[in-house]
């Protein structure tokens, strides 16, 4: 009897603890809500409160959250270059692979306090959540950090990157990379099939538009080549050139251009236009050096695909590659930088955060991050990897010649490619929905189910997994 009582008491205590937790949650929310309302006026107030702590010689500590060591490495370089800024970074790196970065970051941002992230990074797959979606209210507007729209224009930042980083016209995130896509092809195969390897000519062979792409595929097939490695290769151009994203007005929307991917994927497979590989798997990598069943003509991808993935995989075909305008403009991947709204409350911290973000995303000088990044000079005295960067101004004065491309200057293609990409068709659910979509498309292309069935299953899975009804 006594023990039953004790157990009862324990349960009641637990229940009250539960209630208390619910209550504290509420407090948190109302707190953040009130700070959402106040902008510059509340800033000055709180600056007055915390002004005492910053003026001294103490270093300003910035909590930096990221999912790779890329940005922390930039922070090291920044501290090295500008010791007078008197900042110190406290990096937290959590990999995105197991899906842990977002829950941890969300909790840390919502939880607040001195350990809360001041600057955080978001990847293309989930950046929308932080710039336009559920977490967007926690991000500071770049304008409040003193980073104006004019500066963005002057730096020649690609439009798509700004679109993704803005909510209702208020800019909250920018990147350092530009990930506009190109078509990367084998020169020797181009000569064999089209009689030339000139990017200006090849561009008109594979595009614009998918009809021309399939004409080219037929010509390539006649000579025993595959135009791409797998259907994943054309998915990224299709995904990011569609007119609308997966969600329109809270409902699942299948953009006609995306729906056409079903047919194109099937067409590629039925006609043997590709090697039927999956992106990021062995056979796909093998196709980069031509060791697959059929030699592959090209890949769709941004500069990072060339410099980080293909470079080490092309083997003997090194130097036999070239880039040209893709069938349709698109971008693929990228990292954006956001600042926590809380930093606005502390003038010194705000300034330090703003300076760093500016150095990474908007500084077009030769000591700006992007100049190092574009030229592969992050580590002094070492030729590192060159990459396409956000600012076209920087790319214009940088050297984008690559040996893997036989000396072609990649920026000639990537500057317009970045301008052609659109950032209007992303949603915060893309990661999950794309996984379901690609799965169903593969089922249809493999002949395991009908087109209608695949579409119906896709809609059902989205509803069941994400609770989103279709239109």
């Amino acid at each position: 009897m006594k023990r039953t009582l004790a157990l009862l008491t324990a349960i009641i205590m637990l229940a009250s603890l539960l209630a208390a937790c619910g209550g504290s949650n509420k407090d948190n929310n109302s707190g953040s809500n009130s700070s959402t309302g106040g902008n510059t006026s509340s800033n000055t107030e709180s600056t007055g409160n915390s002004g005492g702590s910053s003026g001294s010689g103490e270093k300003i500590k910035i909590n930096l959250w990221s999912f790779t060591d890329e940005i922390p490495k930039m922070a090291e370089k920044y501290v090295q270059l500008f010791p007078e800024k008197n900042v110190e970074f406290n990096p937290t790196i959590i990999a995105t692979t197991e899906g842990a970065y977002q829950p941890a970051l969300d909790q840390a941002i919502v939880g607040g306090g001195s350990d809360a992230p001041d600057i955080y990074a978001a990847e293309a797959a989930f950046v929308l959540k932080y710039t336009q979606g559920d977490m967007s209210d926690f991000a500071a507007a770049y304008a409040d950090l003193g980073l104006t729209d004019d500066m963005v224009k002057e730096a020649g930042i690609a439009e798509y990157s700004v679109e993704i980083g803005s909510k209702d016209g208020v800019l909250k995130a920018l990147g350092y990379q530009a990930t506009g896509g190109a078509f990367i092809y084998r020169r020797s195969i181009a000569k064999d099939v089209f009689g030339t390897d000139d990017p200006q000519v090849i561009k008109d062979e594979i595009g614009p538009g998918w009809d021309k792409f399939f004409e080219a595929a037929e010509k390539l097939k006649a000579k025993g080549y595959a135009i791409v490695s797998g259907d994943g290769d054309i998915w990224h151009p299709i995904e990011n050139s569609s007119d609308q994203g997966w969600i329109v007005d809270g409902k699942l929307h299948i953009d006609p251009k995306r729906e056409a991917f079903l047919d194109m994927s099937k067409r590629l497979k039925d006609n043997g236009y590709h090697n039927d590989t999956r992106d990021w798997q062995e056979a796909w990598f093998a196709d980069m050096n031509g060791s697959g069943p059929k030699p592959v003509f090209g890949f769709f991808g941004p500069a990072w695909l060339i410099n980080y993935v293909m470079k080490d995989n092309v083997g003997d075909t090194f130097g036999d590659w070239a880039v040209t305008e893709p069938t349709t403009g698109f971008f693929w991947g990228g990292t954006w930088l956001l600042a926590n709204k809380e930093v606005l409350k502390d003038e010194a911290k705000k300034q330090a955060v703003a300076d760093f973000i500016k150095w990474v995303t908007l500084d077009t000088s030769e000591t700006g991050l992007q100049y190092f990044w574009a030229n592969g000079t992050m580590v002094e005295g070492e030729q590192g990897t060159k990459d396409s960067v956000a600012s076209s101004v920087v790319m214009e004065k940088s050297n984008g010649e690559l040996d893997i491309l036989g000396g072609q200057n990649m920026f000639d293609v990537f500057v317009p490619a970045n301008a052609n990409a659109t950032g209007k068709n992303l949603t915060q659910y893309d990661e999950s929905i794309n996984l379901i979509w690609r799965d169903q498309v593969r089922e249809y292309a493999a002949g395991n189910k009908s087109r209608e069935q695949a579409l119906a299953d896709f809609k059902n899975r989205v509803k069941d997994e994400l609770g989103i009804d279709s239109e």
Partner: protein
């Protein structure tokens, strides 16, 4: 006649044995293969790995090590953290489970049977059933970046209690307990000084299982530990995989190998008990 029978028996036995050896060797090869491939891949470059499997090592070990150490992979810190968590959880699990099992076997208390049923019920709760709540709870307590939430829950390990109880039923002799009492030993001291050593084989077997599971555990640590200084080895390896656009597979395999080596050592140290085996007594004379 008789000898012929024995002879054919012996032949049958030999055939049997041959079949058994073939099966066992085949299974053993299957067990070794993934480790071999992991170690081989640790010596290969990323592009070599991306092009497929290989049986023979390549020459990129030092290069992979350089990349690994360059990528904020800190084997010493990782090892220390992993060890604290795995060893802590293992100690908690085996010690308190033994204690609970002893409490269940040696004493005759009113709620003994209900409590045992309760433990079996607890065993039925899938960890995922409470993962959402656990995760929110730890955040509210502010127990992130702390090793304790990864160690203390091991105190309540129902499956191990069940195992230990089975073992004790067979191995515990009440004469030993009684004579300890006659010698004036306290109950708690009796457990620590006399019973625990008796339980050693079962403790060691379970210790291996628990240690392995905790050493390789990734998801909870990944969510709860966000500070670099607190990372475990598997977290560091998963960090290497974080950059999907420029993944260095060679260094990942090296990281995985480095993670596995301490585990191997501990496994082989304790393997004596696996070879000898533990007798779980379900029958008592």
């Amino acid at each position: 006649m008789h000898s012929q029978l024995r002879k054919s028996n012996a032949i049958a036995l030999n055939i049997n044995r041959t079949i058994i050896y073939i099966v066992c060797i085949f299974l053993a090869l299957l067990s070794i293969a993934p480790f071999w491939i992991m170690f081989v891949n640790a010596t290969r470059s990323t592009s070599e790995i991306q092009q497929g499997l290989a049986i023979l090592p390549s020459g990129h070990l030092m290069r992979n090590l350089e990349i690994l150490l360059d990528k904020s992979f800190d084997p010493i810190t990782g090892f220390v953290n992993s060890f604290i968590i795995a060893a802590g959880a293992t100690l908690c699990a085996v010690y308190f489970s033994s204690l609970t099992a002893y409490g269940l076997v040696a004493y005759n208390w009113k709620l003994r049977q209900p409590f045992f049923t309760f433990i079996i019920l607890v065993m039925l709760i899938p960890a995922q059933a409470s993962a959402v709540g656990f995760y929110q709870f730890m955040y509210k307590l502010g127990w992130t970046n702390n090793h304790l939430p990864l160690i203390l829950p091991a105190i309540a390990s129902p499956a191990i209690v069940f195992f230990m109880r089975q073992y004790l039923i067979g191995a515990l002799s009440f004469e030993v307990v009684e004579s300890a009492r006659v010698d004036g030993s306290g109950e708690f001291a009796t457990f620590n000084r006399i019973i625990l050593p008796i339980m050693m084989p079962a403790v060691a077997t379970q210790a291996i299982f628990v240690f392995v599971a905790n050493w390789n555990n990734l998801f909870m640590p990944l969510i709860l530990l966000t500070q670099k200084e607190k990372y475990t080895l598997p977290i560091m390896v998963s960090l290497l995989r974080g950059d999907i656009y420029r993944t260095e597979y060679g260094s990942i395999y090296l990281g995985l190998s480095l993670t596995a080596i301490p585990l191997f050592i501990i496994y082989f140290l304790l393997s004596r008990y696996i070879i000898e085996g533990v007798a779980l007594g379900s029958v008592k004379e």
